[in-house]
Amino acid sequence: MKLETRKIPESEPEMVEIRYHWITDEIQEIISFVKSRQGQLSAVRDGQRFEVPVVDLFYAESVEDRLFLYTAADSYEIRMKLYELEEMLRNQSFLRVSKSMIVNLMKITSVRPALNGRFLAVLKNGEEIIISRKYVPSLKNILKGGES
């Protein structure tokens, strides 16, 4: 695929144009990335494509090599790896809390202890997710204003 970038005067709006023959996985990935930078993620539910606002996202979970996004009441599948999404949302209050999950810190109501040094995060929709012991230091650090 040919890549072309062009410097433009500040009076013109910045834009990304994608020219394609067919929407392949590769093209879809690029579209998803650009949309995520604009605060939206392109995901699928019941065979239909939706633009999910990042701010509405509660958490994302990887299940058997498939990645699912969860909002207050719905779930969507997104064609992406968890680590890619984690990297993409790094500066948007998302944090890895277990091997298979990243969570939106803005959607956590409270945290309480679980067994063996783990914690349970109670989300604003009442769901509970496990914060693995391994990721508790990152959580403490980011809440104190550091980086994960």
């Binding site: 803005m106 230091p137 809440l143």
Partner: protein, 157 residues
């Protein structure tokens, strides 16, 4: 930050070890006063809590896993770790000349004592975690307020 994660694990292990030494010393004192009041011990007796606590701390390796353990498998591993601790300490007691295992109350008393220390240590660690959770909740509230304020500032610009 792998360094910080190791530091946290080391702190947890040391915290557990110190807690176990304290609880084991208290349990030995209570059981001794109740059941074997006239016994005179040598300075070597001070080693027992340190050794038993080391066994108790080492047994937590069983509940450590790179995989995310479900609550069920964690409880099973905890039960196995308790059985191993009971087995190891009773074995030491049977081999040691200083512990009067020939008396009928000694082995059941020892087994009950180990169970009491196991339950108490978990209860105390849970209370410590609860305190930590309270702190996390306070930090989380501050973090969320700060993020909301920052996004409002951006909107104004």
């Amino acid at each position: 930050m792998p360094g910080q994660k190791w530091k946290e694990q080391l702190i947890r292990a040391l915290r557990l070890y110190t807690l176990l030494v304290t609880l084991i010393t208290v349990v030995i004192m209570i059981l001794g006063r109740l059941l074997d009041r006239d016994r005179v011990l040598s300075y070597e007796a001070f080693l027992s809590p340190l050794l038993y606590a080391l066994i108790g701390t080492a047994a937590t390796v069983i509940t450590r896993s790179d995989r995310e353990l479900s609550i069920r498998s964690l409880i099973i591993r905890k039960a196995i770790s308790l059985l191993l601790i009971e087995g190891a300490i009773i074995l030491i007691a049977l081999k040691a000349d200083t512990i009067p295992t020939e008396k009928s109350w000694v082995l059941p008393g020892l087994a009950l004592g180990i169970l009491a220390v196991f339950v108490l240590s978990h209860l105390i660690l849970y209370l410590i975690d609860r305190k930590e959770a309270e702190k996390l909740n306070a930090d989380l509230a501050r973090y969320q307020e700060k993020q909301i304020a920052q996004s409002e500032d951006k909107d104004e610009i």
